[in-house]
Symmetry: C2
Subunit: 169 residues, 2 copies
């Protein structure tokens, strides 16, 4: 991976533009993405239940699903139908990551000790990655994506998840 | 928690006794619990899909679900019906842990970088625990349960999960 000047802020500004972001969050029952998740990630799209985010850390292919439900911290607090939807979205996104990156293992986790909004990490792990076999959380400082690299992943995800993605426009 | 002499080996020998353990593993399609999971845990029972294990580490209330399906490493490799069952078992066991221990947060994770058999950790976390807010994996040496402490948890789980537990006898 080339180490170009990080240009994620450009993407950030773009995705925070009211004209291109999700227009009306009140439509989804008062859900608003926690600021820490917003700060640490790049938005890749929306699925039926969850916001799909790319952790802005090029060290690992690392996606995050955030069910668009207000005031939920734990999986068991989701309504049963939402839980099943979450499982299907986890499987769908896991399979996409697996196909795109061909990792040695996927790590799927709802931790949330720091950010009090339910979110599920899906991380593609390689025996050659910096902290294998340890979990990734809190181990290495984030290495922000270049616009080019982030757009490439967005394209790969859109190709594989097109039927499941809700159009934001 | 009192720090008595660890007596988990007694429980171990007991649960490994062919007369009291699951009689015929071939009945469940060739599934056999990975030796590392067997070594590190105490069996608490079986649910419709998963073996329910208690991590033999009294530092955290820490359960593990292992879907009784052979040769599965990733959630997305499970059949769709099994995935939904797994989600329901995760929710059920999470709620039981939450009621019994009243933790500050639950951590739910399928990591599996070391043990190549799909297993889902459900860990009750407290702000006062030794590594909060970091994840628990690989942080502190395991502190084995006494027989008394493990039996107490088994009783609490059986009380809350009785309808979901498959009788092993």
């Amino acid at each position: 991976m080339t180490r170009e000047t990080p240009s994620a802020p450009l993407l950030r500004a773009d995705s925070a533009d009211p004209a291109t972001t999700i227009p009306d969050r009140s439509e989804i029952g008062g859900f608003a993405l926690h600021h820490q998740l917003s700060d640490d990630t790049l938005e890749m799209g929306r699925l039926a239940l969850s916001r799909l985010l790319l952790m802005n850390d090029a060290t690992y292919p690392w996606l995050i699903l955030v069910p668009e439900r207000p005031a939920v911290r734990e999986i068991f607090e989701l309504q049963p139908a939402d839980r099943l939807l979450l499982m299907e979205e986890v499987a769908l996104v896991s399979r996409a990551l697996d196909e795109i990156f061909e990792p040695d293992k996927l790590n799927v986790a709802a931790i949330g000790n720091v950010v009090p909004q339910l979110h599920v990490h899906i991380v593609a792990r390689f025996r050659s990655d910096p902290v294998w076999p340890a979990p990734v959380w809190g181990r290495t400082p984030p290495y922000p994506y270049t616009v080019l690299a982030a757009e490439k992943i967005r394209g790969q995800l859109r190709e594989r998840l097109s039927e499941a993605l809700v159009d934001n426009r």
